[in-house]
């Protein structure tokens, strides 16, 4: 089981780029890296998923180095509405390891 380690919390000013790093030293060959965002009183929302190098969508970018032992979620020019908890998940899409969200990173965007 590839466990993940994330910072418990981060603060950022509005308009800045925010990078949240997730460590997953035991990532397996078939594992993907997935990030979710959760606002208070809502269910998590899928942000981005990747396997290697860089993935970008309209919301965020995901950077994965060659050794894949860590990954960085990058949120460009955050706004107050980006205040949320961000979860990094690592696992095989069809495999037998448990689906584990962990405690996530609580991002607070400051005006």
């Amino acid at each position: 089981l590839a466990k993940t380690t994330q910072p418990i919390s981060m603060d950022s000013y509005e308009g800045q780029e925010v990078n949240i790093t997730c460590s997953h030293n035991n990532i397996a060959t078939n594992d993907y890296i997935t990030w979710y965002q959760q606002f208070p009183s809502q269910g998590p929302r899928f942000i981005i998923q990747g396997y290697k190098t860089k993935v970008t969508n309209e919301v965020a970018s995901l950077f994965i180095p060659a050794d894949r032992k860590s990954s960085t979620l990058s949120l460009p020019r955050v706004s107050l509405s980006d205040t949320a908890v961000y979860y990094c998940l690592v696992g095989d899409k069809d495999g037998a390891n448990n689906l584990f969200f962990g405690t996530g990173t609580r991002l607070t965007v400051i005006p």
Binding site: S41, Q42, G43, P44, D92, N98, L99, T103
Partner: protein
């Protein structure tokens, strides 16, 4: 497109009472998940369905929890009897893909309070 629907949104019961939660996934999504989320923690998977088959229920406390998805569409999660420690948010999610780590679409959850 309608999202995942859960009801009720809130439920308060006394301990030892039974309780049931209902989930209607996004149309066409064959995979359905039930999670439990405690305050300050991430969601914990209870059970995963592929159509009507429970393919991943190792985390479901089977002595008091049960779930069903009889026609492979909506699903019900039941607790009987409820204990104080069951107070949490119960989340339902669905996905058009099989497997655990594909994109999931979550409902708003049911907040259960056991007194």
């Amino acid at each position: 497109e309608a999202g995942v629907v859960q009801s009720p949104r809130y439920k308060i019961i006394e301990k030892k009472q039974p309780v049931a939660f209902w989930c209607n996934p996004i149309s066409g999504h064959n995979t359905l998940y039930w999670y439990l989320q405690n305050l300050g923690q991430g969601p914990e998977l209870l059970i995963r369905y592929e159509n009507e088959e429970a393919v991943d229920d190792s985390q479901l406390p089977k002595d008091r929890f049960s779930a069903e998805r009889l026609k492979g569409v909506d699903s019900t999660l039941k607790i009987q009897p409820a204990e104080l420690g069951d107070s949490a948010v119960y989340l339902c999610a669905s996905s058009p893909h099989r497997g655990r780590y594909n994109e999931q679409f979550f409902g708003p959850g049911t907040r259960l309070t056991v007194l």
